[in-house]
């Protein structure tokens, strides 16, 4: 029995150590790289300087960062507003409809996302489907210039990332006990009040994880921005990619990446703090 327990402990410790190594070492490397400097032969010269972070505070770099966060925030909002009603319908639907609709959500995930991004160009082009329809119906006289606009990038990203928003929302809404909604209605709350006072607070974990699953990749999906946004490096992802691929300034790219991670961590901590304050002091 002793050896059995020892074996079990060894497996647990081993697995966790391996995961920690797997998850952390590359992140630590990126973290260390952000304090080094670029060198022609080795890409990175180890060291400790905040030089790269100072460079990020450049007006031009800051602009890229802010516009990237804004764009990704917009994508997250579009996904949330689209996904919430759909997830709600999904969670309440009966079988087999629920399965069919879940497949509907998974399908976009099946086709290669790059291919779908190109398919978007076929829709948004000056000679594309949307313009053809609008011109044919006489709604517009001139074809609309939709390609290579921030709007096109937002639409492309939202399309690619929507399943990541729907799935956690669906899980949260499906787990939500119908009795809470009934209790709220029973106590005199209209459907709208029930939604804001009961459904939203109780599905907040799903909302937060959905937003995180959309917001973060939204910043990094450089190829969507490449295809639909044209030459302009709108996303931080494109900027970082360029530092690694084109400019070969790895430390600057690493610094940008670390800053982004730190920013997310701060946001998450702020959310936790505020939600626990809300819970503890709702009557005080």
């Amino acid at each position: 029995m002793r050896s059995d327990g020892f074996f079990k402990t060894a497996v647990i410790v081993g697995t966790i150590a391996w995961m920690a190594l797997f998850a952390f070492v590359p992140n630590v490397l990126v973290f260390l790289a952000s304090f080094g400097s670029a060198s022609p032969e080795n890409f990175i010269e180890p060291g400790f300087s905040l030089h790269n972070y100072a460079r990020l505070m450049d007006r031009s770099h800051l602009e890229i960062m802010l516009s990237s966060l804004e764009l990704s925030g917009l994508v997250t909002l579009v996904c949330l507003l689209t996904a919430y009603p759909f997830a709600a319908i999904l969670a309440r639907a009966r079988q087999p409809w629920r399965s069919y609709m879940l497949v509907l959500v998974v399908i976009p995930f099946w086709t290669n996302s790059l291919v779908r991004t190109y398919a978007m160009t076929a829709m948004l082009n000056t000679s594309g489907i949307i313009n053809s329809v609008l011109l044919g119906l006489g709604i517009v006289k001139e074809p609309l210039a939709m390609m290579y606009t921030p709007g096109a990038v937002v639409l492309g990203l939202a399309y690619t990332l929507l399943p990541f928003m729907i799935l956690p929302l669906y899980t949260a809404l499906e787990r939500l006990d119908r009795r809470y909604v009934e209790a709220s209605r029973d106590l005199g709350a209209t459907p709208i009040k029930t939604f804001w006072r009961v459904v939203v607070p109780l599905t907040m974990p799903g909302i937060v994880s959905g937003c995180m699953l959309v917001f973060l990749p939204g910043i990094g999906m450089f190829y969507v921005s490449d295809v639909l946004g044209g030459a302009k490096a709108m996303l931080l992802g494109n900027f970082i990619r360029d530092q690694f691929l084109t400019t070969r300034d790895w430390p600057l790219g690493a610094a940008a990446s670390v800053t982004l991670t730190a920013l997310m961590g701060v946001m998450l901590v702020l959310y936790w703090k505020s939600s626990s304050r809300l819970n503890a002091g709702s009557q005080a």
Binding site: E182, A183, S184, D186, L187, A189, S282, Q283
Partner: protein, 381 residues
């Protein structure tokens, strides 16, 4: 929306007219009509799946009738959503909002009615005192025991002073002891508040000890409505008789029928029995006897004690063998296999002279019963 607190005392507070409810092509309720009187404690009793919870949900407005009408306080509420009905529900699982503390849970209904903060604080305080939970205002509901959550659920409902309080098996998740205590507490609360209570349960003891009237349901329809004593002593059919307590059912045949009584042959006995039904000679009937109405004596005692023997000689005595005795605390049950093969169960009380269980497996006994306490029903199959 009319103010339902000001209303006529003569019309039923809740009324169901020929209500049916179909789920997936299956009748959950089939033509149910029921009037709930103002201020009464009504219990709907039945096994799971009999449609009793569906009635509650139709009154609360969580479901819509397939056909028929539901009236609350004389008003047809078929089209009204739950938030516009002046009834409140205590859910089986309590359904307390986990993201709110006790105060906010209880205050929820008042906030929806846009009461002032001062009014809310005072009303919530009163409601929590009624369920003996003052001082628990700031506790999160997840940290409360089952019994405490139950009382918060009651406070959250009664704070709105509903016309009717609907309780969906509110005690089923509690321990045996706690459940017994809450039964009395609920009954007293109902009297104190004067609110009409409609409770759903599958526990006949619970129904009897709390209610003014009991509705016995089976498979989507009502079998019998009456006072607890009426239902226990005069069940309308075998289903009700079996559901509201242990019962012995003897098959018998009518020999002769006269005004209000019938001569019946059962288990080789020829007995005159009181009955309200009309039978023809030769009709098959059931004779129902409650275990506590049966008297059991050993053949040995009857032989030794002539007086006792006489009281068993009135023609109402059957002979058999004791199979087992089951101790129940205040009483004990004796299972007797009659000589003709059928089994009867008798409940015996401990008597003053002899505290121990008197019968042993294998004892030869005679079983009799108190005259007039039997129920005769037409044969069912």
């Amino acid at each position: 929306m009319n103010d339902a607190n000001v209303s006529s005392p003569t019309i039923p507070v809740v009324s169901l007219h020929e209500v049916s409810k179909v789920y997936d092509g299956q009748h959950a309720l089939n033509g149910v009509s029921l009037d709930v009187q103002r201020g009464e404690f009504l219990t709907i009793l039945g096994p799971s799946g009999c449609g009793k919870t569906t009635i509650l949900r139709l009154i609360a407005g969580f479901e819509k009738v397939t056909s028929g009408r539901v009236y609350i306080d004389g008003q047809d509420v078929s089209g009204l959503p739950p938030e516009r009905r002046n009834v409140n529900t205590v859910f089986q699982s309590y359904a307390l909002f986990p993201h709110m503390n006790v105060f906010e849970n209880v205050a929820f209904g008042l906030r929806m009615k846009k009461r002032t903060e001062a009014e809310i604080v005072s009303s919530v305080g009163k409601a929590l005192r009624l369920v003996q939970l003052d001082g628990f205002e700031k506790r999160m509901v997840g940290n409360l025991s089952g019994g405490q959550q139950q009382r918060v659920a009651i406070a959250r409902a009664i704070v709105n002073r509903p016309l009717v309080l609907l309780l969906d098996e509110p005690l089923s998740a509690l321990d045996y002891r706690l459940r017994k205590r809450m039964q009395l507490d609920l009954k007293h609360l109902q009297r104190k508040l004067g609110i009409t209570f409609v409770l759903v349960t599958h526990d006949q003891e619970e129904a009897f000890s709390m209610s003014d009237r009991v509705v016995v349901m089976n498979d989507g329809h009502i079998e019998q409505i009456g006072t607890p004593a009426g239902i226990y002593e005069e069940p309308r059919n075998l289903y009700v008789a079996r559901f509201v307590g242990e019962i012995n059912i003897l098959n018998a045949e009518v020999v002769e029928q006269s005004e209000g009584s019938a001569r019946v042959r059962a288990q080789g006995l020829d007995v005159t029995m009181r009955t309200r039904c009309a039978f023809a000679p030769g009709d098959k009937v059931h004779v129902l006897l409650r275990p506590e109405d049966l008297r059991v004596e050993t053949l040995k005692d009857l032989a030794e004690d002539p007086e006792l023997g006489d009281s068993f000689a009135g023609g109402r005595s059957m002979v058999g063998t004791v199979e087992e005795t089951i101790y129940k605390g205040a009483t004990y049950d004796v299972a007797v296999r009659l000589d003709n093969g059928s089994q009867v169960m008798a409940t015996e009380f401990f008597n003053e002279d002899d505290e121990t269980v008197y019968f042993r497996a294998g004892d030869r006994v005679a079983v009799s019963w108190v005259e007039g306490w039997e129920v005769v029903l037409p044969h069912e199959e």
